[in-house]
Symmetry: C2
Subunit: 217 residues, 2 copies
């Protein structure tokens, strides 16, 4: 019974790792689509985000089935509850990246990103992708140092998010309302994506240390 349980738990973990890879791939495609008006990548990102949603639901069902069948206690239980929350975050991350692709899709053949913000959104996209990759690693092997570098990178994303508003609200900003709406939402989606990575890493750290305060700030 115990062995079967561990096997099932490993499968949930593997699927979460897979999901985080898919989410990173969606963000990679969405960022490229957004920066280069690449409609093919946008469509791929949107299609993947739909698949991602279904897969997240499947993990939920699997975790609930294990909970029902095995009635685990203590740490095992905490792991499964954390898995449910992590899959919810991964589902949202895929949706957020999908929204960025949708903006690119709607503006095509024009670009959604004004020149003055190309550098900022390039860095934001790279950071989100890097965060996604670190998240996969973290879900594979808990590593508290990694959880800490994740927090530092999220802080940089927040900084870039604020800088988008500074650009948009400066007297130099001459773009039309469409651009203003696009970059406001795209910046928010990038920032929320990174937030979810931090949330998940806090949950992983919690499972390891039993202390929320250890990493969740």
């Amino acid at each position: 019974m115990r062995e079967l349980f561990q096997q099932e738990l490993s499968e949930v973990q593997e699927r979460l790792v897979d999901l985080s890879s898919t989410v990173t791939e969606i963000m990679e495609k969405a960022s490229a689509a957004f920066l280069n008006s690449d409609v093919k990548k946008a469509d791929e990102a949107i299609a993947l985000s739909e698949i991602n949603e279904e897969r997240a639901l499947l993990i939920d069902e699997m975790a609930i089935r294990i909970l029902t069948k095995q009635a685990p206690v203590a740490r095992d239980l905490r792991v499964l509850v954390a898995a449910l929350r992590i899959s919810a975050s991964l589902e949202r991350m895929g949706a957020l990246a999908g929204h960025i692709a949708t903006i690119a899709r709607f503006r095509y053949p024009e670009s959604a990103v004004p020149k003055s913000l190309v550098k900022t959104f390039t860095e934001m996209g790279q950071l989100d992708v890097a965060l996604g990759k670190k998240l996969s690693k973290l879900l594979k092997n808990t590593d508290l140092d990694l959880a800490r570098t994740i927090q530092a990178e999220d802080a940089r994303v927040d900084e870039l998010h604020r800088s988008v508003f500074e650009t948009v609200l400066s007297p130099k900003w001459k773009e039309n309302a469409l651009h203003t709406v696009d970059v406001t939402l795209a910046s928010r989606y990038h920032e929320r994506f990174a937030d979810h990575v931090v949330d998940i890493s806090a949950k992983v750290a919690y499972l390891t240390t039993g202390e929320w305060s250890e990493i969740d700030s």
Copy 2:
């Protein structure tokens, strides 16, 4: 044992109902703050959203403690897992309403809402508050008809959300970038708030019918 468990379960439910009332109150204050540049209400909403976050975490801890101690199976287990998800949604709803209040706070003494959108945001705020009240009722007593009216009201919020973009992107829109950013984000926050109500009502319906397809569309 069974009796104690039911008692604990009722307490979780009561706390979720309380949380949904708080969330509704935050939205009520945030909407008033946003529409009337009422800085006092904005501060109250922001303070309440912080309290709301702490309370949501307390419910999570309580649900996990029950799961650990009682190792419930079947329906009881599903109820507790649903409670965890519902509290996560309620926490986000409080944060979203808090963000609306923060926009009002930042723009004070000026108004964040241009005249052309006062009517739209008034209706959006009213709908979100009405949805919050229905949610409290639904969490108190499961009622599938109520879950369906919730979906209809959410559809209206989505419609208003789209109409904000139509207004902002029409040639008549002469407001500055600051207003464009404010109304874009505020509209998104109102829309996400309503989305969470629909998510929760789908979970409640699921607990009742055992079928996601019954209400979750």
